[in-house]
Every structure is written in structure tokens, then in C-alpha cells.
Amino acid sequence: MVKLRIGHPEDPDYQERLEEFEARIARGEKIEPGDWMPAEYRRQLIRMISQHAHSEVVGMHPEGAWILRAPSFRRKLILLAKVQDEAGHGQYLYHAAETLGVTREEMLEALLSGRAKYSNIFNYPTLTWADVGIIGWLVDGMAIKNQTMLAQSSYGPYSRAMVRICAEETFHHKQGKEAVLLYAKGSRKQRQMVQDALNRWWWPTLMMAGPHDTDSPHTPLLLRWGIKTKTNDQIRQEFLNEHVPELLDAGLEIPDPHLRYDEKTGNWIHGPIPWDEFWKVIGGEGPMNRHRLETRRRVHEEGRWVREALEAYGRRRLAQAAD
């Protein structure tokens, strides 16, 4: 058990404590549960960490759909391991949020009722096996950029979950890249399939980094408190600089006619991102929003008897032990 110490702006010592708190973060210290923190710091963390946890959990669905249809036993083992990892990552993250005094039940309730968000990328369907490769290489590639940044986060438990996740996630990225490069060098049909997957996932992947910095109201505070250590546009740029040359080298075409290399900065510059679609999908109008939530609700209901039975069994054992 740990006693949380939350500061509110109306507290008489708030300003003074806030300065000490910000100085600690500036020195690179980690904030631990039980250390003084502003209520807003806690609120932002719970929002971000639970959203992140939900993304891991919902993220199991698009890929899980392909476990039974994997083209070989090796690919099936890899995909099974990957989907299991996502479940584990959800657990690490729910735990990190729990250290802030929110319960997992409350977080799941927020997800199932549709109040909580999860990464928009999982509201797109996985139409062919090539999507599994593209998700591994690009979607996980973008996720890793974000997670590596969050591993530096000022909140100890969030940072620790991220370090653990990054260590495991690198295999997801590599297996995806391996699969995509293989198809890119494969038969005409395989090349078409992987190009089609790239066409569909490219823009949603770029949108994963979040709105442009100018449209991201939380960013300055999140940076000041070290919850995030890079902005959305920085993450997106890092992703582009790493992946664009590799995709082109593989002979794939990137579906952005304005994409260009900037000699001066050494950056790959993307064309206008279709944000209308982003806001539409976030608002629930994406191709899979309803399906994902319905599936989550259904599996939650179908698992209810297991949760209740195990709880009854555990309670009885405790009672017997007490006799």
C-alpha cells in the first residue's frame, strides 16, 4: 500500500511544491507513487497510460484475426507470440496506472462504455496477410518511436513499463520487416499484396503520432512535466527518416506524391496528412470502431462466468484457510 500525495492549485503551498516538483523533473529524477504530484499530472498520466493500455488490448484483435490463417507454422508461432506480448503489455500498463490509485475495473469500464480512447490505428481492418507484415514493420515501428520516448518519462512506473515493452517490441518490428521485404522481392502477386497493404496503412500510420504540434493542446504541459519528452511531429519525423529509405530500397512505392527528401535538414518531408479522416475515425466513424468495441464487450461478457467462478473459489479457499 502506498499513500498518494496529490497537490491542488488551491492548496496554500501549491506554488512552492510545484516549483520543487518541476525542479526534480528538470534534474532528471523520476517521480514515484507516494511522491507529491500535482493533481493535473496524475490526471494526464491516468489518461495517457490507460489509453495506451487499451490500445495494446484492442490491438490484439486485428492481428489475432490472422492467427488461424497464418501461411506457415513458423509465421503462426511468431504471430501467436506477438499477440501474447500485446496482452502482456496491456497488463504492464494497467499496473502502471494502478499505482496512481485508479482501478483496472474503472479503466476497463471506461473502455467498454466507449468513453476511453485507444489508438485509432486499430479501427482499420486487416484485409490480407500482408497487413500483418505491414503492421509489424510500420505500425509497431511508429509505436516503438513513441514508446522509446516514453521510456524516458518522468513517472517511474510508466517509464518502467515502457522499457520492458520496448525490449519486447523490437522483435515485432523485425519480424514485420522480414515479412514485408520477403514479399517485396517475391512473386508479382506477393508484391501487389504488400504494396496494397502499404497503400492502406501508410496514412493511418503517420497519423498514429497524433495531430501536428500546433493542434495538440496538451503537448506543452506534458513536455514541461516530462511525461512526454518529444513532440508528435518529432516522433513522426524520426519514423519517416528511418522507414522511408528502407521502403524505397525494398522497391515499394509510398502513396504520397509530395514526399521529398530535404537536403538541408536531412529530413524526409511528407505531403498533407488527411486529417479529416483522422477526426472522423476518432469520432467513431472508422471502418472497424463499432466492431472492435462490440468484440471487446462480447468477450468481456463471455468471460464473466470464469471471473466469478475463480473469485468464488478464491474466497472459499481463504475462508477455509481461516477456519
Partner: protein
């Protein structure tokens, strides 16, 4: 509302020479269940030598800041002396674990255990957890259990980044596409 199983802190030892480390927590109905879930969540990869769980409420945690400022002591009934394990976080460096076992004290309450740990065990303590040893349930004491619980993960090399080696050319080589 729904059922939420109790929360259990998970303690893992990677190899016989490594310290026990607090790695996170799981929800489960009883200790055996907690150990099984802990194995699925925290031992999907090599390597583990031992795994323990204890009810989350059995842990008492204080940070250096709380220790300095006071107000962390709570009135707990004293009981006959019993052994407590003490875990500490010693640096702000990047880590994937919470606390590391630093020693044991004999104490009459969690607060008493914290006070003794500060006197008897090596610091610094940026954060400190104490847990009565009797609250821990373990797997891995016997070679049979170790083999069936922890060895299979070692054969699953496709979970490792190194299994894929260097795929394609390095980004630097293909910078301009």
C-alpha cells in the same frame, strides 16, 4: 459493476546469482492463480529462475521524499516480531523493475520494518518496500518446477530480436532511397 480479482505483486529472479526484483503486478483469485498469470505476463522470455507473488496490500511502500517530510507513518497494530523482506530503488536510472531485494529485517509492523531497514540496510533509498516474508508464495524452489515453468520460454527464440538478425540494408546505407 464487475468482478475485480485481488492484485498481487510479482517478484522475479532472473538467474541464481541475480537479486529478487519487483517487476509489476497481476490480478488473480488466489496465489496459485497469481503465479500462473505472473508466468504468462512476466516469463514469456528467458530467463527466470524463481517467481514469487504476494498480495499487493501486504507491501508497504515509502519514497525518500515521504520519509524526509514525515507523515508516512500510520498506526499499525504491533505483532510479534517476524521477518520482512526489504526492496529498494536506489537510482533514477532507466529500469524495467521497481525494487530490488536488499536484505531482511525482523520487525513488529511494516512501519517498524521501514525504520529498521533505514538503520540496518545499505542505502540510498529513493523508494523502499517492505513485505512480511510469510506473505510470499513461490514457484521455482525445485528443479522440476523450474524446468517445467521456465525452460520452455528459452526454446522460443522467435520471440527474440536477434533471431531475425539484420534484415535488409541499414537505414544509413539507403538514406537517399
Amino acid at each position: 459493476m464487475d468482478t475485480e480479482w485481488p492484485r498481487w505483486e510479482v517478484i522475479k529472479q532472473d538467474v541464481p546469482t541475480a537479486p529478487l526484483q519487483m517487476v509489476g503486478s497481476v490480478h488473480a483469485a488466489d496465489p496459485e492463480h497469481a503465479l500462473l498469470v505472473a508466468r504468462h505476463v512476466f516469463v514469456r522470455r528467458p530467463s527466470a529462475y524463481a517467481l514469487f507473488v504476494a498480495p499487493a496490500e501486504a507491501f508497504f511502500m515509502v519514497t525518500q521524499e515521504a520519509l524526509r517530510e514525515g507523515g508516512w507513518e500510520w498506526e499499525a497494530p504491533l505483532h510479534p516480531e517476524k521477518p520482512y523482506q526489504v526492496y529498494r530503488k536506489a537510482t533514477h536510472r532507466r529500469s524495467m523493475t521497481y525494487g530490488e531485494l536488499v536484505g531482511k529485517v525482523t520487525a513488529q509492523s511494516p512501519v517498524d520494518a521501514v525504520k529498521k531497514a533505514l538503520l540496518e540496510l545499505p542505502g540510498p533509498f529513493l523508494a523502499l518496500w517492505v513485505v512480511p516474508e510469510e506473505a510470499l508464495f513461490g514457484a521455482g524452489e525445485s528443479p522440476e518446477v523450474r524446468e517445467s515453468w521456465f525452460e520452455p520460454a528459452k526454446a522460443k527464440v522467435y520471440r527474440l530480436q536477434s533471431y531475425y538478425g539484420l534484415v535488409g540494408r541499414h537505414p544509413k546505407e539507403v538514406k537517399r532511397g
